[in-house]
């Protein structure tokens, strides 16, 4: 296998799965926003094969969490909060953060769990499980001891103000060597990620415009926009872009220390779930 990969000089594992030697901070987002990123949703919202032997498997479908990432901004005050500084109360930023930790933070790239590196299918399926499990586990841990975090579909879920425990968030940041002030917003869309400006049109409903905000023609009602003046801004909403895709790297150098601990947790959970069933 190593010969086929051109990795004869590597001792043992492919370099993607050997321990990281340097402590250089990992770039956020993992993929440059100007580049295309393959879809994660396609992998995790579809059926996943769970191998019980090297050849035989059963398929499961995990709970869908890669959704509701289009925030609707309805006031100037709230829009300024979003664009002013990173804030983990927003569900898309929470999801981007957890995807980043589970992949880039662990040192696992898309080529390991998707394709690109020649790996036995049993192991590739395990890495898919690992990424999903770690995303869910970190989201759970962000809820603190009171488990205040909520997922799409939960009664307490709110995409614009999803509860989380700040102390737990900082602890997870420390585990992965990330500054708690890191920016996990997807700023690649219109108006630096805020989205497109929509205005209300009589008999038509909301209509997308190409204008900028702030500083454009249209204004929210709490900043002076009036329907009678024809400059009332209805809401700002981004395009339907799977933002988390940019937070999973296409390639990694190798496993991180935190990643190894998390992989061990995933192995325990994986074996426990199947053999303990």
């Amino acid at each position: 296998m190593k010969t086929a990969l051109g990795l004869d000089d590597v001792n043992g594992f492919p370099y993607q799965l050997s321990l990281l030697k340097t402590k250089k901070p990992l770039p956020i987002p993992a993929v440059n926003l100007t580049e295309a990123a393959p879809s994660l949703k396609k992998i995790f919202n579809s059926q996943i094969k769970i191998y019980v032997t090297p050849d035989s498997f059963f398929v499961v479908k995990f709970r869908e969490i890669f959704e509701q990432t289009r925030l609707e901004h309805n006031s100037a005050t709230e829009s300024k909060v979003w664009s002013g500084w990173p804030n983990m109360k927003y569900w898309p930023q929470q999801l981007n953060f957890t995807v980043f930790c589970s992949t880039q933070g662990c040192g696992i790239s898309r080529e390991v769990f998707d394709s690109g590196v020649a790996l036995p299918e049993q192991i590739r399926a395990f890495y898919k499980f690992h990424v999903y499990f770690t995303v869910r586990r970190i989201l759970f841990q962000m809820g603190g001891i009171q488990s205040v975090s909520a997922l799409p579909g939960d009664p307490t879920f709110n995409p614009s103000g999803n509860n989380y425990d700040m102390a737990s968030y900082k602890r997870i940041c420390a585990e992965f060597g990330i500054a708690p002030t890191s920016d996990f917003r997807f700023t690649g869309g219109k108006n630096h990620g805020l989205g497109n400006v929509y205005i209300g049109v009589m008999g038509h409903g909301p209509m997308k415009t190409g204008t900028a905000w702030p500083g454009g023609y249209y204004k929210f009602s709490d900043e002076g926009g009036r329907a009678t003046d024809g400059n009332l801004l209805y809401f700002i909403k981004p395009d339907d872009v799977p933002q988390y895709d940019w937070f999973a790297p296409n390639k990694t150098t190798s496993l991180t220390k935190a990643g190894l601990a998390r992989i061990n947790e995933s192995i325990e959970a994986f074996v426990y779930s199947i053999l303990g069933a």
């Binding site: 043992g12 049993q122 192991i123 395990f126 890495y127 759970f140 488990s147 199947i274 053999l275």
Partner: protein, 146 residues
């Protein structure tokens, strides 16, 4: 899996992992990353006792090949049914009544020696023995009825 996600603390997870591997009698021979726990390649649930498994937790070292390693954990350990800690189950199996012929046959195999016969020494009644005396009652002649 959902319960594993919502475990408040995974500190005891290694013990749990060990317990599951031990109970399920699976062989740890699948390496997914160096220094990570080895996991069983074959995770079909085996209900019967198996000869030839090794449950010691081991980590993949840097030279370990990715995938199934048939050269790993070749030590075999004979697994056999043992009595549980604290003795056998107190729950009586369906055939456990002594009069049941199945039970008799099983017990005969398990205990070839005949069971000890216990004799009870009962105290003798030395004081106040009841002596039944039969005193002949006076035989009265039947009255003649004139």
């Amino acid at each position: 899996m959902e319960s594993a996600i919502s475990q408040p603390n995974l500190a005891k997870s290694v013990q749990r992992y060990q317990l599951v591997v031990d109970e399920a009698k699976a062989r740890l021979n699948l390496a997914v990353a160096p220094m990570a726990w080895l996991m069983p390649a074959n995770m079909t649930i085996n209900m019967a006792s198996v000869v030839g498994y090794n449950n010691k937790l081991k980590q993949a070292v840097s030279g370990t090949k990715l995938g199934v390693n048939n050269t790993l954990n070749t030590d075999t350990k004979k697994s056999e049914l043992k009595l549980m800690q604290g003795g056998p189950s107190k729950v009586n199996p369906p055939n456990s009544h002594p009069s049941n012929p199945v039970h008799k046959a099983v017990m005969a195999v398990q205990n070839p020696k005949p069971p000890k016969q216990v004799r009870f020494k009962l105290p003798t009644d030395e004081v106040g023995q009841i002596k039944e005396t039969f005193q002949e009652t006076e035989k009265t002649e039947p009255h003649e009825i004139n």
